[in-house]
Symmetry: C2
Subunit: 344 residues, 2 copies
DNA sequence: GAATTTTAAGCAATCGATTGCAAGTTCTGA
DNA sequence: TCAGAACTTGCAATCGATTGCTTAAAATTC
């Protein structure tokens, strides 16, 4: 039982004294088979528990209705939602997804891409890892006739389709909101600057300050504070300054913002009166903390859908070079208790 | 450029006046090729930007180092963590994952399984959808020489490898904890009873009551309260009873528990003094609410790792029928503020 | 230097499905 | 009744890599 082979079209053909080509045609609904034999073939296929071997079919047809997705972490809220969005669209089109996670490692990202190239996927959707170094591996994707679409964390230099989140605008808007609430010494928790998204968020922060005639205070910028713990540590450091900030923009993540809130509460600092806090991503918990945390919703599922749609749109209108290569999803500032000290 | 074909071993062979078989052997590190030609082939392969076509290789070798994973929802914390755990192990072994989501739909679950069978994956790891009806599609997995491992939400009738979470014990422990804290009228928010996990959680609830000589009060059991909203609605209903409960065990999810907390706070009920609350899953936010919510950690990533390990273990010790077909991961009750009214 | 072993490389079949072309059969209409 | 159209079906090549077998060449032994 265990060792029996799967039935192939040849088995069906032999049983019916037909040729495999007719079986193939019947199963694919071709018109070149008489109704009688078609029915017979379909019946026998069911009897023998036949299933098409997609591998053989793919090889012969030279196509593979499979798309590879490479993300830093599958189980991060943002990425798992993007994947859900992608899947929603690709499923409709009859495509499968191969999911890989780079674990924020550049070497592993290269390996993932290599495997996907070998798998002959039709496209790769990718968000680069935190310790991204160089885009050779991404270039080679195109060289192998595979469409590459980058999203969120992208390499700007590479001319591919991209789906971005308006990080700079969102960041600008967040800081401006703090300013209108009367905060003046606004600190920034920034992410690794080799990632475009964190560069853009910083840019938005800087231009909001500039617009309001405030000068940049380097001591108010803390590098690499991603996590709750690092966010807390950064806050300790900031609050120990001779002139501590009156607001902290955790541009890295809501987790960092939570760390900020932890420290503020431990020190008995009133939020938002004495310290304003803004996070990034609209994680579920931001609504639940007391006070709730002002943050930025990135519409992660929408991003995923757009990535997939960009691919299929490209497929359908091959001619239209009009198609924009870059789609930007506008994030939304969600104002909550942690920054509302003057009312709206 | 766009239309050029990918280079194959034949292209390499032609360029070097060799036979494709030698190229194949060289690339696979076989000993039957001289060092000189091997080097030459490797060099030329690099020059021509050669990549193996895994599809062809898989077809010929009749194996596919790919595993299919079917989950109800990719972007649910529990499942995305399980997937991360699976990926951690399978990546080590050089296997790829094809991820499908059933979206809690039985029909779609069948489709996912069908596709994976056609893809000739070596194994399918699956957690059944909420409106599961019948296991025909799962039986057919085995008929096609594909190993099936079920996890978390499993069909008990089917004799496959399984990785389970000790739902009944955890539930029992949770209710017993409530009892030791002096709660006596304990309500249960229960999930769809066609899923084993919810049946087991209910069972644990019932046996804890029984052990302590308390009789079951049917009015304290509310069906299908999964979400925050449904949890809130259920709570409204329960609190409107002539004899309302003094504790609510949201066996469905932490989201439901959050809904309970919402209503309690809206009504000015003191938690844990007047109402005890327990959730399920240890979502990140349960630690953050005020009071924090007592809940059950399922070690989702561990579950994923165990699923994958079960598969590879099966591969390595084929003979050992000793191997247990069922692995159970013991969940852990995490006691927090929402139930601690008497101290520990 | 002849005989034998070792090594290297080529040949051809194979995995399972698809598809252009050819051959055979049935049907249509004059 | 027969030419020609319209269907059915079969044949054989193909996708790209792998592998058992054979042959040719080189290395070893006596």
């Amino acid at each position: 039982m265990e060792n029996q082979k799967r039935t192939t079209i040849y088995d069906i053909a032999k049983k019916l004294n037909l040729n495999a080509s007719s079986v193939s045609r019947a199963l694919n609904g071709s018109s070149n088979v008489s109704e009688k034999t078609k029915e017979l073939i379909l019946k026998t296929a069911k009897e023998l528990n036949y299933r098409q071997n997609s591998i053989a079919s793919n090889l012969r047809k030279g196509e593979n209705r499979t798309i590879g997705v490479v993300v830093p972490r599958i189980n991060q809220n943002f990425f798992s939602n993007v994947i859900a969005g992608i899947e929603e669209v690709t499923y409709q089109k009859g495509y499968n997804l191969i999911i890989c996670q780079s674990n924020e490692s550049y070497q592993r990202e290269i390996k993932c891409v290599d495997t996907l190239i070998n798998q002959h996927v039709s496209a790769i959707f990718l968000s680069i890892s935190a310790d991204f170094e160089d885009n050779e591996h991404l270039k080679s994707v195109g060289e192998h006739q595979i469409k590459l679409i980058q999203f969120d964390r992208v390499d700007d230099e590479l001319d591919t389709f991209k789906v971005l989140c308006g990080n700079e605008e969102a960041s600008f808007e967040a800081v401006e909101h703090l300013l209108t609430q009367g905060y003046r010494r606004i600190a920034l928790l920034e992410g690794p600057q080799n990632l475009n998204i964190f560069r853009q968020r910083k840019k938005g922060y800087l231009s909001a300050l500039a617009k309001h005639g405030l000068s940049l205070l380097p001591e108010l910028i803390v590098e690499n504070a991603w996590t709750r713990e690092l966010g807390a540590a950064a806050t300790e450091k900031l609050l120990a300054l001779p002139q501590p900030p009156d607001a902290i923009f955790a541009s890295t993540s809501d987790f960092a913002a939570l760390g900020v809130l932890d420290v503020a509460q431990a020190r008995g600092l009133k939020v938002p009166q004495e310290l304003g806090i803004i996070g990034f991503s609209n994680e579920a918990f931001t609504e639940i903390t007391q006070p709730s945390i002002t943050t930025i919703d990135q519409f992660s599922k929408e991003i995923g859908k757009n990535v997939a749609n960009l691919y299929f749109q490209k497929l359908s209108k091959t001619a239209s070079s009009e198609t924009n290569k870059i789609v930007s999803i506008r994030p939304k500032l969600i104002i909550r208790g942690s920054t509302l000290r003057n009312g709206i």
